[in-house]
Symmetry: C2
Subunit: 224 residues, 2 copies
């Protein structure tokens, strides 16, 4: 795997170049921090953006690792996806940047944009690994605590792989920056920090046990 993100024409960051990150490790950090991704796929001749869970395999078979999305075999977006260039974007909002002028309002955020040709995963072993990665993205370690996938479940599920090769990462951090006259005018500026947090696990009414498993408790702690 290459350790840096080498932008292509499609992933070259042109606006706010100071926000561009080039360390591949930061790509994985943004992906890890995102509960869902937004998948862009051409349908009916125009782009459609769909929120979906995803999984990441840094050692996946594609160049620089693999990102997986999945869904019903009947899902139109996944029927359309193979063979076309897809875009997967992950965004974490870290703060509202509240400047003295409307113009300098901004957000603190981390975002990753991955572009790549969609590949249908047909190999059973890769499909199982991919689905486990998706579950483990939601709650790390959870797939190992669940029963295996049935043949029927695998047959009902389409998994699409996208190489993590062509990607860009942006990050804005820090406080509000205004033009000097606005600073001197005396108004307040600053940042309202934003976080995504977990509450207390709610056990399903039909659960045969009330004992929240360790992986779920750990996930709740990691989101607090």
């Amino acid at each position: 795997m290459t350790t840096t993100l080498s932008p292509t024409d499609r992933t070259q960051i042109r606006r706010h170049r100071d926000r561009a990150r080039t360390d591949r490790a930061e790509l994985f950090e943004v992906l890890d921090a995102s509960l869902v991704c937004h998948l862009g796929v051409m349908m009916h001749g125009s782009p459609v953006v769909i929120p979906t869970v995803f999984g990441v395999d840094p050692d996946g078979p594609d160049e620089d690792g693999t990102l997986y999305v999945h869904g019903s075999v009947a899902a139109r977006s996944l029927v359309e996806a193979p063979g076309q260039d897809l875009c997967v974007t992950c965004t974490v909002v870290d703060g509202l940047v509240l400047a003295r002028s409307a113009f300098h309002h901004s957000m603190n955020y981390r975002s990753a944009v991955v572009i790549g040709r969609g590949r249908v995963v047909t190999d059973r072993d890769e499909k199982v690994r991919a689905l486990d990665r998706v579950v483990d993205h939601v709650v790390p370690g959870r797939s190992a605590t669940l029963r295996g996938h049935t043949r029927k479940e695998l047959a009902a599920t389409t998994v699409i792989a996208i190489a993590l090769h062509e990607a860009s990462v942006k990050k804005r951090e820090g406080t509000a920056i205004d033009d000097e006259p606005d600073v001197l005018a005396g108004g307040w500026a600053g940042v309202l920090p934003i976080a995504t947090v977990a509450g207390t696990p709610e056990t399903a009414p039909d659960s045969m046990t009330q004992q929240v498993p360790a992986d779920v408790r750990a996930r709740a702690r990691s989101l607090s």
Copy 2:
């Protein structure tokens, strides 16, 4: 304005139809609850998905109201946007649905998908209103506390309008639902609630006042 969402072929929800919402008020609720949207735009022949702030004007000039995105006049995505069909998706994650089988894992979420032709806002008054709506989406009431937009700021900013007419809303709520054999096998299932919350406002070092304004304090409370 029509009070219901009348799906077109592009916004008809086919998967999990039970999750489709048809009340237009729920579209505005999802938009209000989303700090950023994900804009899908065709670039170089493939879809690119960009996170961005946005504003909503239910009484905007487009059919069923207007959604606004903005950016630098030099931003490639906004240069490409006019005249093509765009997709704006907003997603709020409300919980991780942790079933006994990998297959029945899910998320509780609310999402809105808006599809429409991008229109460059050229009218000065609409542009000002749109930019105020964007600021007020981040912190309600904030635009009224700021100085007006300068001619230079307006000239440096592109605003794109999209009608809120063609839209769909999905919502999943409730607990994990497994097949009976998995329930009887005795494992735990449930939901880990997820929320987006604000921390304590951090005043900019160059702020001439430490007094956090009322609109920011109210926004912090609304995100707690």
